[in-house]
């Protein structure tokens, strides 16, 4: 039985013309072209959004929430990803964006920096007390978590079981607002302002948690224009004096900044899926045991490079660093309080993360071996140029599809060329025979 997975992308058949851009870009070979349209293999897709980046026809629609969807909540609180700030010029202070978010229809905004600081402290405590296998792998990026579950299931136990800042922040916001408004928790909607679609999956599937504290996610790119116009009407001076975010909170939005308090020689930071996969390959081979913690971001440069942001990630990084210089550097939470809460398990996941490896060639190893031999035989007859005309990203993937009964040999254009050559040859010999019998009179 194939498990049902939630996904945060939808392929729009009307817009898709089967150009193969997404198929070529997909890092897990989860796209096929069938009848001139792209289709997604649900068990392989890890919601990284690489297809969204490359689609020239905007045919891949992220299933993030729209502002209109949020009206079911009596009180809506925005939890901005720290990547949001890096989309604006560095003179636009977080406080101004808070006001703009309220203009856009949110009742309140929760600063994410205290949660970031608290999670950093919780991470340090966890790592210092951890006695299992190293390195620990960061779990805040839902795409990285899904990647491990699907392609590296034996490494799932090494995912850091500490909650992501967005979850801690959403929980804090709801507790605060329930007190302030008197509303029950389920009438308060915690809405993540997200740089990528994978947060939607994290809300729906809440890996490692019984339930997500977040209720919805609206994309940065959907909100950007209306936020920018609201920001342009705000006088900046007041917000410089009363900062709502800290420099360390912004650290979470780009690669290489976490956790600063661990000795640098014991940590690694990596961003971009191909790079993350290389590092995970090395961990599987037992190479990186001397590292204690590896920070993994699926997007290039980190969350600021999310596929639902608007700014070039390298420019965004520059803006974030510049903005950080004008924000307070200190920790926004009390270390003792965090330690006490940590002992009450407030920062730890409450469910085990489990792997869900890709369906192998066959559930029975002996039969899988037979199928792999057959796959290699099919592959031997293919041109191995990965042209994609059959609708699979590589000859190897195609051979596997054929063996699994998901594709037919005849989809390969080279198969047809061979077939045609054989028939031409047959026809030619037929003509020769006829010539011969006609005594050369033809």
């Amino acid at each position: 039985m194939v498990a049902q997975y939630h996904h945060s992308l939808r392929f729009d058949v009307d817009r898709c013309d089967g150009c193969m851009s997404c198929m070529r870009a997909c890092p897990t070979a989860a796209v096929r072209i069938r009848n001139e349209h792209a289709v997604k293999l649900a068990d392989r897709c890890i919601d990284c959004g690489e297809c969204i980046r490359v689609c020239p026809r905007a045919a891949i629609v992220p299933l993030t929430d729209q502002m209109a969807d949020l009206s079911k909540f009596e009180c809506k609180v925005a939890i901005p990803s720290p990547a949001l700030y890096a989309q604006f010029d560095s003179e636009v202070y977080p406080g101004m964006i808070f006001s703009a978010l309220k203009e856009c229809g949110f009742d309140d905004v929760e600063s994410v920096s205290p949660a970031c600081d608290a999670v950093t402290i919780a991470t340090e405590i966890f790592i210092n007390e951890y006695r299992g296998q190293y390195p620990l792998i960061s779990s805040f990026c839902p795409t990285v978590v899904r990647l491990l579950q699907v392609k590296y299931p034996e490494l799932v136990d090494q995912l850091l079981p500490v909650l992501a800042p967005r979850e801690v922040s959403a929980r804090a916001a709801k507790i605060r607002l329930a007190k302030e408004t008197g509303l029950p928790m389920d009438r308060i909607g915690a809405v993540y302002i997200t740089p990528c679609p994978s947060k939607i999956v994290a809300i729906l599937e809440h890996p490692g948690m019984q339930q997500s504290h977040l209720d919805a996610a609206v994309s940065i790119c959907d909100l950007f224009q209306i936020l920018a116009s609201a920001v342009s009407k705000i006088q900046e001076t007041a917000y410089k004096i009363d900062p709502v975010e800290s420099a360390s909170g912004l650290d979470w939005s780009f690669v290489g900044r976490l956790p600063r308090s661990l000795p640098a020689e014991n940590t690694l930071s990596v961003a971009g899926l191909p790079n993350v996969m290389r590092i995970l390959d090395d961990i599987e081979k037992g190479r990186l045991r001397k590292y204690r913690y590896i920070e993994c971001h699926a997007c290039p440069e980190g969350c600021i490079g999310g596929c639902l942001t608007v700014e070039n990630p390298y420019l965004a990084r520059g803006k974030a660093i510049k903005l950080q210089q004008s924000l307070p550097a200190g920790c926004m939470v009390d270390r003792r309080e965090v330690e006490t809460a940590y002992r009450k398990k407030e920062f730890l996941m409450d469910e085990y993360l489990t792997g869900r490896p890709l369906r192998p060639l066959d559930a029975d190893i002996s039969r899988a071996i037979l199928k792999m031999k057959e796959r290699d035989r099919v592959l031997g007859e293919l041109p191995r140029i990965d042209c994609g005309a059959c609708g699979a990203p590589s000859c190897r993937a195609f051979a596997e599809d054929v063996v699994l009964g998901d594709a037919d040999n005849e989809l390969c254009v080279f198969f047809w060329r061979k077939e045609l050559e054989t028939r031409i040859e047959q026809l030619a010999s037929l003509v020769r025979i006829q010539r011969h019998t006609a005594g050369g009179q033809l």
């Binding site: 034996e154 090395d282 599987e284 081979k285 037992g286 192998p360 060639l361 190893i365 071996i369």
Partner: protein
């Protein structure tokens, strides 16, 4: 009935650091597609990676022969190279003849062979000075 087995041979060149580690990645991917238990995949990944790196670092050239059946995974690693002078010494944790250059790259902690043995259910090593080294490793399918 003959037991179904998959056999593959991978060639490796000594000093080919640009491609070092690729064979063990391929072996790992093959086992995953066959539905081998993740814990077993990991042990074989460690064995094949350590063996591949030893081969790249010390030998002139060599081959890894992979045999997978529903019972066990066998790796035979044959190399042409200088061989090992004292196999018992080489099996000791921390013993290494790595050059400073190899250590610079993060190898030579003297854990390669001990790690292979630790992750193997059966382990055999033989070496001839001036000729090469032969490893025979079996990892059972039951984790």
């Amino acid at each position: 009935m003959m037991q179904e087995a998959l056999e593959s041979t991978y060639s490796i060149l000594g000093r080919d650091f640009a491609n070092a580690g690729r064979v063990s990645t391929q072996i790992k991917d093959t086992l995953k597609r066959l539905g081998v238990h993740p814990a077993v995949v990991r042990r074989v990944a460690i064995v094949s990676y350590e063996a591949e790196m030893n081969l790249v670092m010390y030998a002139t050239r060599g081959k890894i022969l992979l045999n997978v059946s529903s019972e066990e995974i066998t790796l035979r690693i044959d190399d042409e190279g200088p061989g090992i002078r004292d196999v018992n010494l080489a099996m000791q944790e921390g013993f290494s003849t790595a050059t400073p250059e190899m250590r610079e790259m993060g190898f030579g902690a003297g854990m390669g062979l001990p790690n292979i043995k630790k992750n193997a259910d059966e382990f055999n090593i033989s070496s001839e000075l001036g000729r090469g080294t032969r490893l025979h490793v079996v990892v059972k399918q039951t984790p």
